[in-house]
């Protein structure tokens, strides 16, 4: 058993939160540069130019790319041959959120309770933490802060098996159409197909962790991604919804087996602030 002190997880999460907020990943930035070449709409082009310039300012000056620095979504892929010592992982992650929010000058955007008082927790805690146990003796941590503008437009449907591929496509396109200008396009669309109610949503989110522009290694899923990308770009919203060809720069899909009577589909809309950062310990 390899031992990893929990303080290392805290340090990594803290640094990754700040990094994710200041530096939009290269793959996303390249996708916006490509989009600028493709886009025909004059307003759409201007939006893309602003997006690219904004990314550069944020990187160079160490400022949050977007003022909605989001709720911190933290994925922990825990190697089964690792023993974490010295405290609770959950507490370490939340302490990391607290420190990153303060020292990184990020916005506290989390409230408790969700319905009645909605009082700001003041330090952006708690994080949403997803754990997966994986083979090996490493811990991979991925941090993906998520703003509400795009998260609020995400949807899930329990389709009937008879709805088939046409039903899936229609639901994805409808979701992108409804999201539109409110969710800050150009999007990267995360889609989960199969599994069950909650797993499907998780897959849609997890699909977004793969680099923009990279096709799925499974040829069936790769084909689905390509066709969906083409379909959602027929919607015509364009950058920021002012009309245009590039509504989404990519669609990422994950699939999983499901029950004979089910066809769950989840669509997680990712705005152009496609922030994620990762590290292996």
């Amino acid at each position: 058993m390899r031992e990893v002190p929990v303080s290392e997880i805290k340090k990594a999460v803290k640094e990754l939160i700040i990094e994710a907020n200041y530096k939009i990943p290269e793959d996303a930035l390249r996708a916006y540069e490509e989009a600028l070449k493709k886009e025909q709409s004059p307003l759409g082009k201007e939006v893309l130019q602003q997006i690219i310039e904004n990314a550069k300012i944020a990187r160079e000056q160490g400022l949050p790319y977007c003022q909605d620095t989001g709720i911190d979504v933290v994925f922990i892929f825990l190697g089964q041959d690792v023993r974490v010592t010295g405290g609770s992982i959950e507490e370490a992650v939340n302490e990391a959120v607290r420190e990153a929010t303060k020292e990184g000058y990020l916005r506290a955007s989390v409230v408790w309770d969700p319905v009645f008082e909605r009082k700001n927790t003041g330090d952006n805690t708690p994080a949403i933490i997803h754990y997966e146990v994986v083979p090996g003796d490493k811990i991979k941590i991925v941090v993906a802060p998520k703003g509400a503008g795009s998260e609020n437009t995400s949807r899930l449907a329990m389709l009937k098996p008879a709805d088939g591929w046409e039903g899936v496509k229609k639901f994805v396109v409808e979701t992108v159409k409804q999201a539109g200008p409110n969710a800050c396009p150009p999007f990267t669309v995360g889609v989960g197909i199969g599994g069950n109610f909650e797993y499907c949503a998780y897959l849609a989110k997890k699909a977004l962790l793969r680099p923009v522009g990279q096709r799925h290694e499974n040829p069936l899923i790769a084909r689905v991604e390509e066709e969906l990308l083409e379909e959602v770009n027929k919607v015509g919203w364009g950058p920021m919804g002012f009309g245009g060809l590039v509504t989404a720069v990519d669609v990422k899909v994950e699939m999983y087996p499901c029950h004979i009577a089910s066809l769950p589909v989840a669509v997680n809309i990712q705005c152009h602030a496609n922030r994620h950062a990762q590290r292996e310990i």
Binding site: S41, P64, D68, N120, G238
Partner: protein, 183 residues
């Protein structure tokens, strides 16, 4: 073509703007988002005054990040406007002339813009560091306890926006999407 306007806005200026126009705003604008709107409208319901006179003014739907030392404000891009739709009419009634946000508005708000001669501007969502550069001064106006959601008065220079909904029913999102939709 880019139009330059300054606040406060007169009816003439509002009427000169059309959906799709690129506009640079100079002058004072006020930040307020969900929680501040709720408080303002509740105050009006109780017969109290608003923390600032909205006549001729522009409200910016935004909640900035905290400023780093030496900066006047942190990153400050627009938030989704439609969440403020239920609060718009009482403010327009008192003379509010403009709103800045991102995304589309309800049919109801589009009607209200015509009725009260007002305009809704869209800023590019998410380009918050770029927009922050146009903010030169910041003062706290009210509701400090709301943190990022407090009302702040910003002095902005050449703040870049697009007229999304004008006072004549024009809608940049509808017009834009129709032009490029292929389904």
């Amino acid at each position: 073509m880019v139009k330059r306007i300054s606040t406060p806005l007169s009816d003439e200026v509002v009427e000169s703007l059309r959906a799709g126009d690129k506009v640079l705003i100079t002058g004072y604008i006020y930040t307020a988002r969900d929680a501040a709107h709720k408080r303002m409208v509740e105050a009006l319901r109780r017969g109290e005054e608003l923390p600032f006179d909205v006549k001729g003014q522009i409200i910016y739907y935004a909640g900035p990040t905290p400023p780093k030392p030496g900066m006047v404000i942190g990153s400050v891009g627009p938030t989704t406007a439609i969440r403020m739709d239920p609060y718009v009419e009482p403010l327009l009634k008192l003379g509010l002339k403009g709103m800045i946000g991102k995304g589309y508005r309800s049919e109801k708000v589009k009607e209200l813009l015509k009725k009260y001669k007002a305009v809704y501007f869209a800023a590019v969502g998410g380009v918050a560091t770029l927009l922050q550069r146009h903010v030169k001064k910041v003062e706290l106006v009210a509701y400090e306890d709301l943190g990022t959601e407090a009302i702040r008065r910003l002095w902005v220079e050449d703040f870049p926006v697009i007229v999304a909904n004008d006072a004549f029913g024009g809608d940049v999102f509808e017009e834009g999407r129709t032009r490029y939709a292929r389904i």
